[in-house]
């Protein structure tokens, strides 16, 4: 993530800082480049600076320091209405006093487009989101999902090259949200639009994006493709924030190349892959995904480390079993096992031996 001024970069943040009160930085030294056509998601907890970044890109907030470039030119001093960036807002922001067609016509009218041209574009945009029959309706007469589609159509109707989306699916129910996730990614890829998508929902980020930027505390913690992010988190924040994660605390005893030995707080030694531990004696959090934990020794490779665990809770979830265990003093150690015929259903209070591959076990910062 170096501050490169790559000529391939369509969107670029260069050393961008933002402060509202002059005392604390909401965005600290942000560097980010995006090629054309990419779907990038800014993911992070609330207050992490992701929405501020989006607003700076849209032009509603000014960067305190640094430069934001669009297609190679700095847009710091260009007012929002001249940036030509489409935007979908959290609450859709459909103009309630206009019909759907008038809402879509608005960006074309301010661009002084002729009537027939406007009508053609509106029809195409509405058909694109399968809302062709709703042109005469008012936004209040539409359901949440329909409003969402119209907001999307309005952001796309004037054919911007960059579209920003600020938690657009936050108000929808689960099923609709999943459907819209698919729709949005399909449209973005079909039209080849560069998209910056802000969300605090990690599933959304993982399923939709080409790359995900995980924000925390005003910084990008990791910028990577979804699979990399999930399987190879670079620090304990990302490991905790993306997906479910088990952590065991301990001290690094030995590092040799791709493996290290960690002494857990209860004295047990386990081997792990060192990710951002550098020296012996350092405190570390060891991270293991719940679905990589096994009780069935036949499925474990040779050399897998085995730990004693007590079953605290067993939850039947249909496709999987979710078992909460006490492991090395940690009461919140979760194991997810597939619902297979040969899979044992554990009982509360039962003592088991669990294990995992050393490669799935990552030693991160404490």
């Amino acid at each position: 993530m170096a501050a490169t001024s790559d000529s391939e970069a369509f969107v670029a943040f260069e050393r961008v800082q933002k402060s509202y009160d002059g005392e604390t930085l909401v965005v600290k030294d942000l560097n980010l480049t995006m090629p054309k056509g990419e779907f990038l998601t800014m993911l992070g907890p609330s207050g992490s600076g992701k929405t501020t970044c989006l607003m700076m890109l849209a032009g509603f907030e000014t960067a305190t320091y640094g430069e934001i470039k669009l297609d190679g030119t700095s847009i710091n001093n260009i007012p929002p209405h001249k940036r030509g960036i489409g935007m979908v807002f959290q609450n859709y922001a459909l103009f309630p006093h206009m019909t759907v067609a008038e809402n879509l016509s608005f960006p074309l009218e301010v661009r002084k487009m002729g009537k027939s041209e406007r009508e053609g574009k509106i029809k195409r945009a509405l058909d694109m989101v399968q809302m062709g029959d709703f042109a005469g309706r008012r936004p209040t007469q539409l359901s949440g999902g329909q409003q969402q589609r119209i907001a999307l159509a309005r952001a796309l109707v004037f054919e911007p090259e960059l579209v920003l989306m600020d938690e657009p699916l936050g108000a929808l129910d689960k099923q609709l949200r999943e459907h819209m996730q698919f729709e949005i990614t399909r449209l973005a890829h079909e039209l080849g639009i560069t998209t910056v998508y802000v969300t605090h929902d990690q599933t959304e980020a993982l399923t939709m994006s080409d790359r995900v930027a995980v924000f925390n505390d005003g910084r990008i913690q990791q910028l990577a493709a979804p699979d990399t992010l999930y399987e190879e988190p670079e620090n304990s924040f990302v490991a905790q924030f993306i997906g479910e994660n088990n952590t065991l605390e301990g001290v690094v005893k030995e590092i040799s190349g791709n493996t290290c030995t960690v002494q857990l707080d209860n004295g047990e030694l386990i081997s792990a892959r060192p990710v951002n531990v550098t020296e012996v004696g350092q405190r570390t959090q060891v991270s293991i995904r719940p679905e990589r934990v096994e009780t069935n020794k036949e499925r474990l490779q040779e050399g897998a480390h085995l730990l004693k665990a007590e079953v605290l809770e067993f939850v039947y979830m249909g496709d999987i079993f979710r078992t909460r265990l006490r492991v090395a003093g940690n009461d919140d150690f979760v194991m997810k096992t597939r619902n297979a015929p040969d899979q044992e259903r554990l009982k509360k209070g039962q003592m088991v031996e669990i294990g995992w591959l050393p490669d799935d076990c990552r030693a991160l910062d404490a």
């Binding site: 849209a58 032009g59 509603f60 007012p79 929002p80 209405h81 001249k82 940036r83 030509g84 960036i85 489409g86 935007m87 807002f89 959290q90 609450n91 922001a93 103009f95 309630p96 006093h97 608005f106 960006p107 301010v110 661009r111 309005r154 952001a155 004037f158 920003l164």
Partner: protein
Amino acid sequence: MSDTTQNGPMLAADGTPLKRSLNRALRRQKLRALMLIAPLLIFVLVTFIAPIADMLFRSVENQIVSDTLPTATEVLEDWDHTTGAPPGEEVYQALYYDLYLAAEARAHTRLGTRLNYEYTGVSSLFRSTGRGLEDLGEEYQDILEDADDRWGEGAFWYELMTGTGDTDARLVREHRARLQALENARLTGDVGFAPSVEIKELLPQTTFAYTDFAVFTALMDEDVVAEEDPWEGVYAGLAQDLETADLSGYDGPGAEALVAAQQTLAEQAEPINYTAFFESEDKDWVSPDIWATIQTYSSTYTGGYFLNAVDMQLTPDGIEMRPDGQRLYMVLFQRTLFMSLTITLSCILLGYPVAWLLANLPASKANLLMILVLLPFWTSLLVRTSAWKVMLQQQGVINDVLVWLGLVDDAARLVMINNQFGTIVAMTHILLPFMILPLYSVMQGIPPSYLRAAKSLGATNWTAFWRVYFPQSVPGIGAGSILVFILAIGYYITPEIVGGRTGTFISNRIAYHISTSLNWGLAAALGAILLAVVLLLYWAYDRIVGIDNVKLG
């Protein structure tokens, strides 16, 4: 459900139609809700709706003419004003006895005042004639008493009028009702007199006058009728009756005195002539115009007040505009409407930016600004209005500053008060919060994301405001305008203080008629028109903007 065979209305479980069942279930809730608001409802009905209804009723009510001159107006009905001749003797005769009772009850001046609204000069005519009514009867009284002392004795009269045979209680009831209408009060108590049927047939006018006297004496003066000497008017009645009465068949009390009196009067007195009497009192009484006015306004209900309120009048020949010099109210209505609209418009222009600031500033600053907006609310209306007097008068703060700056010559100080300008400035200031508060509450409900969305779609700041923000703030403008306009159109104190002659409202005129000229009918008519104008504008607003769009908070 295709297999359903039932085509009628939906039925509840017990077989009653669902709608009725639902209504029954909801009725209890509705009643309970009504009970909660009942105290307020009763309070409003008693202290607000009822007085207003009563007041509005006064704008058409006109019983005073027929109450005061019941027989005269009845007889007058047959008179045709277009002949140009005054009515006949029978009208003057009826007028004499009606007016006599009214004068005793001091109600004739009230009627004079009422008719004066329609025909100038009637008031003094009634007042002066009221004083001279006794003169006509006194003439005959003197002649009769000179001939026989008994004519001056109350007991003798009482005996004569009561007679020995059947008495007519119905006549007493009628005259009691006459007096009640005059006094506008319910009179109870025993009159202690009823005329004999025989004497009523023989001396009808005397009986009429004496019954008036008896009812008034017993009920108003609370004296014994038999002990009081009759009014002079009774003698006039007797004189008239004796001119034609055939006394030969009468042998009741005082029969011989009546025969003697008939003789005496025939020898010594002129035959009675009511027309000549009224003409001698004031020759206006033989002018057909007066009678035409009385005839026109003798109906129980009249549109006269309303016509008056729009500078028209009901003449015997129909409805016509008042003469140029007397037109007043249409100008006032126009001025009231124009100034109220100007004030509303100034409030929008001044209030909109303030409301916008209030809605968009951070909370701490907005609160401070809100206090400044509300500050005038906490100051007395009189103080605020007087402060404008200090500011705007010719030796006032603004003129002093302008003179000091050299912008205005000391000799040509601006006249900014006691005219329309002063009223508009002061009232705009006073009513401004009523515009700002609804605007503010509407603007607070417009999320900033709409403006952002508009800008992101390519609109300039102005286009975003005008096409996206402004239309959504229209309900606030509507609510504020209705509030300010309705308050302004009925405003009274401020125009009274700073309005001078050209800056007053119709409400000032209404107040004048209520408290100074006491023409409540006209005041009620003006108020009713004002109410109608407001309702009309409200209706128009509903049609154009839609009342659903009004948000007060």
